[in-house]
């Protein structure tokens, strides 16, 4: 018999076993989660669906009884608050959408609903996914479960923190420059940014359309594989979604790494890397080598331009993507304005936080007449060079291994006044988004202060399966 007080710590794979054995029920599971959610001090959720989650749980318990339950029955999921859910608030962590209720479901939500996922709530995040610390939320910062004085990372800080603190089984985040991987690393959970085009973006509120991808955050690699498989696939509602067959990712569990060629790009192991983090990563490298993997040192020469390139392209797209929040049709409109321009200016001034304004201004600038060639066009060229770096690397290796972030979680407020310093903490994550490649982050232990360290694996396009294979192998060794 299982210790019933502990069921919130289970991953989905284990919880489903107990559900099938009738040792627990979905209602019980949801109950236990709400007991924790309702006293949680992390500020991980913006909205919780106490009523609808309990209703769903009761219905799915019926289905389980009748043997008609979907593939993800009992998966109690939190969703980053920029993924649209019909009839629910979708705030994007912003004041300007604080009352906005979506009239439709995102494609991923539709897919998961069809497989009997239970939706627990919407998670806190940096406003419009712009940030690396979750301090840029209109709803206040999220705290790191491993140390409440530290940030959980961002922008999917809420999604990572609520999984790490057992407030749900798993969550969905979105990753534009590291927004799933960095918080997963900071919070000690699994995170995957799929290949660009792998997961439909329909219903994902756009920050930077050519970089955004939805991905899973979980407590185990088996969970990562089932959740990933459930959300992948071509969608006719998203022109940029790829018409590629989705493998059974769980087929790649329980394998070894013998003969796998793993690349170490030396640009990712330079001065800025924290010694504690470097040591943990080295342990992983040694372990893989001992286990029969071939470690190959290589170079991604354009890495130093990645952060600058990212902040030109992402802000350019954002400046246009966020133009629709003008107070005219939905969202927050400033009161007592009489002229059109005044309505626009006041609504946007009151509605957006300072980081969002900063990025809109940056993006507007780089697209302006006379500056376009020097910034936006140049950035697109560098983006191609960065992509070619990876193409060349993958001729010699099956995947790449890198740190996720130069440091472990930093203190709340530590970098808040220094945007450049904050932007540079994305240095190991942004290149993948620019190249459209998949990445998985696996927790591999803690630093001297007890904060988690995550290792990042980068694969060729549409080769998430190899990342699952390695992550699973690592997880089995490094599980605390």
């Amino acid at each position: 018999m299982t210790d019933r007080a502990d069921i919130t710590t289970l991953d989905y794979t284990r919880a489903r076993e107990l559900l099938e054995k009738k040792e627990i029920t979905c209602s019980e599971l949801v109950d236990k989660y709400f007991q924790r959610v309702n006293v949680s001090q992390l500020n991980g959720f913006i909205t919780v669906f106490e009523n609808s989650a309990r209703e769903q749980a009761a219905q799915i318990d019926e289905k389980l009884k009748n043997g008609q339950a979907g593939r993800l029955a009992g998966m109690v999921l939190a969703v980053k608050d920029l993924i649209a859910m019909e009839g629910k608030k979708t705030t994007c962590g912003s004041n300007i959408l604080s009352d906005y209720i979506s009239p439709f479901d995102a494609t991923v939500v539709q897919k998961l609903r069809a497989q009997d996922v239970i939706f627990l709530g919407k998670t806190n995040m940096d406003e419009f996914a712009m940030g690396s610390s979750n301090e840029n939320s209109h709803y206040g910062p999220v705290k790191n479960p491993h140390n409440p004085e530290c940030v959980p990372g961002g922008s999917s800080g809420g999604s990572a923190a609520v999984v790490a603190d057992n407030l749900c089984i798993a969550s969905l985040g979105s990753d534009t420059g590291g927004s799933i991987r960095q918080p997963a690393s900071f919070c000690g959970v699994l995170g995957c940014k799929p290949t660009y085009g792998r997961v439909s973006r329909y219903g994902l509120v756009a920050y930077a359309s050519s970089l955004d991808q939805i991905g899973p955050i979980t407590k185990s690699v088996p969970d990562l594989s089932v959740l990933l498989e459930a959300i992948c696939g071509h969608d006719t509602k998203d022109s940029t979604s790829a018409d590629q067959a989705v493998p059974r990712f769980s087929d790649y569990l329980n394998r070894d790494v013998k003969g796998l060629r793993i690349g170490l790009p030396h640009e990712y192991f330079t001065d800025g890397l924290d010694a504690d983090v470097a040591e943990k990563i080295q342990k992983v490298i040694d372990f893989l080598e001992q286990s029969g993997a071939k470690i190959i040192k290589l170079s991604l020469p354009h890495t130093e331009y990645a952060v600058a390139t990212y902040y030109v392209i992402a802000t350019a797209e954002a400046s246009s993507n966020l133009a629709r929040y003008d107070g005219a049709r939905y969202g927050r409109r400033a009161e007592s304005t009489s002229a059109l321009e005044e309505m626009y200016v006041k609504s946007r001034t009151e509605g957006f936080g300072s980081e969002v304004k900063r990025r809109i201004m940056l993006g507007t600038y780089v697209l302006s007449a006379g500056y376009y060639d020097a910034y936006y066009r140049k950035a697109q060229k560098v983006r191609t060079l960065i992509k070619q770096d990876f193409d060349r690397a993958f001729q010699d290796v099956d995947c790449l291994l890198t740190p996720t972030s130069p440091t472990t979680a930093f203190k709340i407020g530590e970098k808040a006044d220094d945007p450049l310093k904050m932007y540079l903490s994305d240095i190991y994550t942004v290149s993948l988004n620019l190249a459209g490649l998949p990445g998985v982050v696996v927790p591999v232990g803690k630093d001297g202060t007890g904060l988690p360290v995550g290792v990042q694996f980068i694969g060729p396009a549409f080769e998430e399966s190899i990342l699952i294979q390695i992550a699973d192998f690592i997880e089995r060794e490094f599980e605390q």
């Binding site: 979506s102 439709f104 998203d238 022109s239 797209e317 400046s319 629709r324 003008d326």
Partner: protein, 482 residues
């Protein structure tokens, strides 16, 4: 000094696809405000556009009909600006890589073909409609109807090859004819399904450099375009003659007052910050697709004229007139199919039918006199059942009532009287009652024959067969010995 105007036109045409360019909403004109909308065309958070392939097919048709080079790879771009009828805060259009380029349209100027170059044709989504002055809009309000948002447009940009307002007019007529023949746009400028802006400058005759241009907007008919251009040419020339400089600006045509006035400069100073739309993939059009559309291309006006001359034996002039409007050409062909003498059918269509169409508003398709009915009328003349004059009456009655012409003739007793003895009796009566006119005829005043014919037609309410009347009348008058 003589000045030469240099004009380029930017024409937007609304495509007749059933659904919008990036979502499945209906494009039906005239629906209740804000009912043909969905999250996608409303720009709700999280939505994405998906291109309607029919729009590409229509663009291929227009590209082929205007001799453009189709780019196998073209790219959507965002044109960024804030306006309440633009839900996303940007309009999806094309910028650096348009759909097709380097075409031309031939227009007939003083009996000579002149080619007007086309710089490019590109895709665009329409914006919504802002209502300022409708009766239901308050004085301090603007209402927005987003039904039109996302209706597919093609923008056709001409080279500055146009040299007079008349040429601009001919170019528009020709372009409208092409899009109507292709069935991709109804070409109605008054309803806004075809819109035209003009760029215009003037320069001393013989000068090769371009002068400073202005842009003319807000012209709601072909005639307005012509008038606005005339106005602006005169204004620019007199400005130059006064030794003043032309200011580059946008002018709005006021059709009520016949003047063009500058737009507020603020609205004129946009930096649209065009960049490729990351939500859409490039439009890839291969030769196979082009060939498929080519195979389904409808016959265009030039080919139709040749066929009308060759197959129906019509004079070139008739073929020109009949093919100006494809609906009229179709009407003619349907009517001609049912009659032996094609030229007679042509005469009827060019005469009665076009007269009626010009007077009515519904167009040839809504005419009560269907092509089959017109064929009936022509055939009844052929069969000597009615004469041409009565036929025009039958046409008129059919036009009013929509009844079958053969029934009209039967029910109203309009059949021609060809019975010799009946006509002879009538003629004898008229001759007896008109001794003075007979004398005049005898004295050589042959023109008076018309008087007798008129009397007989009057007596028969026009139903007498004029040929029979003439024959018998001549015979009787010659026999007459007072």
């Amino acid at each position: 000094m003589n000045y030469e105007p240099v004009i380029g036109l930017e024409v937007h045409i609304q495509l007749l696809t059933k659904s919008k360019i990036f979502c499945t909403c209906s494009t039906q004109f005239g629906a209740e405000q804000n009912t043909q909308v969905c999250p996608v065309c409303l720009g709700m958070p999280g939505v994405l556009p998906v291109l309607n392939e029919k729009v590409v097919e229509y663009a291929i048709k227009l590209a082929l009909a205007t001799n453009c080079k189709i780019n196998h790879h073209s790219v959507f771009a965002r044109k960024n600006y804030f306006y309440p009828d633009l839900p996303k805060g940007y309009q999806i259009s094309q910028f650096e890589e348009p759909f097709c380029e380097n075409g031309y349209i031939s227009i007939l100027q003083e009996d000579i073909d002149k080619k007007i170059g086309l710089t490019r044709i590109h895709f665009e989504e329409d914006a919504g409609k802002s209502m300022h002055s409708e009766h239901y809009v308050g004085s301090d309000e603007t209402l927005v109807d987003v039904n039109r948002c996302g209706v597919p447009l093609l923008e056709i940009v001409s080279e500055p090859d146009i040299r007079s307002p008349q040429e601009a007019y001919s170019y528009l007529v020709k372009l409208r004819q092409i899009v109507r023949y292709l069935g991709i746009c109804d070409g109605n400028m008054e309803e806004g399904s075809l819109r035209c802006d003009a760029n215009i400058s003037v320069r001393p005759a013989g000068e090769t450099r371009l002068g400073v241009k202005t842009e003319l907007k807000n012209m709601n008919s072909f005639k307005s375009v012509e008038k606005a251009l005339e106005y602006e040419i005169n204004r620019q020339i007199s400005t130059l003659k006064d030794n003043e400089e032309i200011v580059q600006q946008t002018l709005l045509w006021d059709a009520d007052r016949n003047v063009a006035e500058p737009m507020r400069s603020k609205e004129d100073s946009h930096d649209y910050r065009y960049f490729p739309d990351p939500d859409l993939v490039p439009v890839i059009v291969d030769d196979e697709w082009i060939d498929r559309v080519k195979a389904e291309m409808p016959e265009l006006a030039g080919e139709k004229i040749k066929r009308f001359v060759n197959n129906y034996g019509l004079p070139e002039y008739d073929a020109q007139v009949l093919t100006e409007d494809i609906a009229v050409a179709d009407y003619f062909e349907a009517a001609a199919a049912g009659v032996k003498d094609k030229k007679t059918a042509s005469n009827w269509v060019m005469g009665e039918v076009l007269r009626v169409v010009k007077e009515s508003s519904g167009g040839v398709k809504k005419l009560n006199v269907t092509p089959a009915f017109l064929a009936d009328i022509i055939n009844m003349i052929e069969e000597d059942m009615i004469n041409t004059k009565i036929a025009k009456n039958v046409f008129e009655k059919c036009l009013q009532t929509g009844k079958n012409p053969r029934d009209i003739v039967k029910q109203e007793g309009m059949q021609q009287i060809s019975d010799d003895s009946e006509i002879e009796t009538l003629i004898e009566k008229v001759i007896q009652e008109s001794p003075n006119e007979v004398l005049a005829f005898k004295a050589g005043k042959t023109k008076i024959l018309g008087f007798f014919v008129g009397q007989i037609m009057k007596a028969t309410q026009g139903k007498a067969n004029p040929k029979t009347v003439n024959q018998i009348l001549m015979k009787k008058l010659n026999e007459y010995r007072g």
